[in-house]
């Protein structure tokens, strides 16, 4: 057994989630152990599921931008906003608009709830996945 092979074995062990390992092969015997407690997540798996609806731990619902565009909280500057903080909305209610490529896209409430926060700013750009509106439980 060459040193390089031992090195490879150590690397394999390090990369694995295994905490103890013993190898016997011929006259060679190797025993490896990792400190418990240390997790160090190895590969971060990006979230591939629909990112427009994220349920927060406290059961709030964060409505995020499904596309890049300009945020509008009302149909035009003179109109009343679609929703206001504290207002109860049912699922499907239009919460805001995102204008992209000269098309106005209505962003609707995915669930019913109380409007807790309006995070988009009138006339400003929102990127994909940017939080727009926070809905809370309708208690």
């Amino acid at each position: 057994m060459k040193i390089e092979n031992i090195e490879q074995i150590i690397k394999l062990f390090e990369r694995s989630t295994v905490s103890k390992m013993e190898i016997e092969s011929g006259d060679l015997k190797i025993k490896l152990e990792k400190d418990s407690g240390e997790t160090g997540n190895y590969v971060r798996i990006p979230n591939v599921s629909s990112p427009t609806l994220v349920v927060e731990p406290d059961s709030d619902t964060l409505v995020k931008a499904p596309l890049v565009g300009t945020f509008y909280g009302a149909v035009n500057p003179q109109s009343a906003p679609f929703v206001q903080i504290g207002e109860f909305v049912s699922a499907g209610t239009v919460l805001c608009l995102i204008e992209a490529m000269k098309v106005m896209n209505e962003i609707k409430a995915p669930v019913e709830g109380v409007v807790l926060e309006i995070l988009g700013r009138n006339g400003e750009m929102v990127a994909y996945d940017q939080p727009l509106i926070r809905l809370g439980e309708s208690t």
Binding site: K11, R15, Y42, V43, R44, P46, N47, V48, S50, P51, L67, V68, G69, T70, A100, M101, M125, A127, Y128, D129, Q130
Partner: protein, 455 residues
């Protein structure tokens, strides 16, 4: 003048474009998918906009989000890099319709060259040698077999809308021709939305030689000499070098002049590459033109000193090229190794993961184009190429030796890479001789497997 460029790409090419923009005092906007929030191009650009979910079709291919990001950040122009939207004529038109500059050739050329049959026909008109085959589309098996008789087997049936090694069938005789013709058309329809196919003679063990073109919108078309891209695994380039060691100066001039003829014939007005086959009788044949910047452009920059991205941007700005053909001279030799996160012991399967320790080589005559860093997690959604390692030397052998020591110095721990494969290749006598053809890499991999160097 362009003041702000949105770069509709990721990885090392996005970083590469940002670097030239910084040199030119142009602001940059990066776009990124949610999987790329920690990517280097996002860190280096002046602004960054998230444009979609990890899958390329939801982000880097999402035309609307890319354009919205460009418009809303006040960008003047979009640089598409390579891959993704770079050879999409419809996208180039859309960019122009939005009042923005598309940094690349005009959309008509992209469209023309994107259809391989039209490109062939155009080249025949221009008097540039093309690979023997059908002039236009083949409509029926009988028509095809007739042409096959005149050019001889083996040959390839190719989808007009294919490219990059996709939509191709190799046939050795009439019966095989009959067997695959309809399947390929159906496949082409399904994959490219176009069932047009044509025929080309198959060359055994040719060199893949390509010529770098640099043109402006004022009729100037220059060549920056050739690259030898014959080291390919499954039609994917792995190692490139410039110039091609095998060409005599006479042959070099002929190929380069034909490349200029190609670009002139189609009114080319940006950076692009004309690909040729070079057969064992020293003849060259036009294959296709890539209407974009290419992965391997740095080796041309190394031997000519010309910054291709800078000139591509200036050319898009309608500026005249600041040099003429006589100013472009080859000095020395350059080699590029594509460092991929892939496991050669598992048939080069892509392998993601976190880079635990990264140490790039340095010093004289070494260039590194990369977007990785210590602790970077390679997302599993995109290309496995994580670094371009480029070395230079006064001679080809000096460049090879420099590549060896650079590969020795390079450490990328935590992910499996093809560094060792490159290192072995730099010691292979056939590679060192420089006469290798497009079949060499595959045979060399087979040889390595047989002697169980892959353990």
């Amino acid at each position: 003048m362009i003041k702000k460029i949105l770069i509709a790409n990721r990885g090392e090419i996005a970083v590469r474009i940002i670097r030239s923009c910084k040199d030119m005092g142009i602001e940059t906007v990066a776009v990124y998918s949610t999987a790329d929030a920690d990517a280097l191009h996002v860190q280096l650009a002046d602004e960054a906009v998230c444009i979609g979910a990890p899958s390329a079709k939801d982000s880097y291919l999402n035309t609307n989000n890319v354009l919205s990001a460009a418009l809303l950040t006040g960008s003047d122009a979009i640089h598409p890099g390579f891959g993704f939207l770079s050879e999409n004529a419809a996208f180039a038109r859309l960019v122009e319709d939005c009042g923005l500059i598309f940094i690349g050739p005009n959309s008509d050329v992209i469209e023309l060259m994107g259809n391989k049959i039209n490109a062939r026909r155009k080249m025949i008109e221009a008097g540039v040698p093309v690979i023997p085959g059908s002039i236009g589309a083949i409509e029926s098996i009988d028509e095809g077999i007739n042409i096959a008789k005149s050019i001889g087997y083996p040959l390839m049936i190719k989808a007009a809308a294919g490219g990059g090694g996709r939509g191709i069938r190799i046939v050795l005789d009439d019966s095989q021709f009959r067997a695959v013709f309809d399947t390929l058309r159906q496949e082409a329809k399904n994959n490219f939305g176009d069932d047009t196919v044509y025929i080309e003679k198959l060359f055994v063990d040719p060199k893949h030689i390509e010529v770098q073109i640099l043109a402006d919108k004022h009729g100037t078309v220059l060549h920056l000499f050739e690259r030898d891209c014959s080291f390919q695994r499954r039609h994917q380039k792995v190692i490139e070098e410039a110039p091609c060691h095998m060409l005599s100066n006479e042959q070099r001039i002929k190929i380069c002049e034909d490349a200029v003829k190609v670009a002139q014939a189609v009114g080319y007005d940006s950076v692009g590459t004309v690909e040729f086959l070079f057969d064992q009788h020293q003849n060259h044949y036009f294959m296709e033109m890539n209407t974009r910047i290419q992965v391997e452009h740095p080796i041309t920059e190394m031997i000519t000193g010309v910054d291709l991205i800078r000139n591509m941007i200036r050319s898009a700005e309608n500026v005249k090229l600041p040099m003429s053909q006589e100013d472009i001279v080859i000095r020395g030799h350059a080699i590029e190794c594509r460092i991929n996160a892939e496991d050669m012991r598992r048939d080069f399967a892509p392998s993601g993961g976190k880079i635990d320790f990264y140490h790039p080589p340095g010093g004289k005559d070494v260039r590194i184009d990369s977007a990785i860093y210590n602790g970077y997690v390679i997302p599993p959604f995109y290309d496995s190429m994580i670094m371009k390692l480029i070395t230079y030397g006064d001679t080809r052998l000096a460049a090879i030796k420099k590549m060896r020591s650079a590969l020795e110095e390079l450490i990328i721990d935590g992910v499996t890479t093809n560094i060792e494969f490159h290192y072995m290749t730099m010691h292979h006598s056939t590679f060192i001789e420089g006469k290798y053809t497009t079949g060499f890499a595959q045979e060399w991999i087979k040889e390595l497997k047989e002697r169980e160097s892959f353990i």
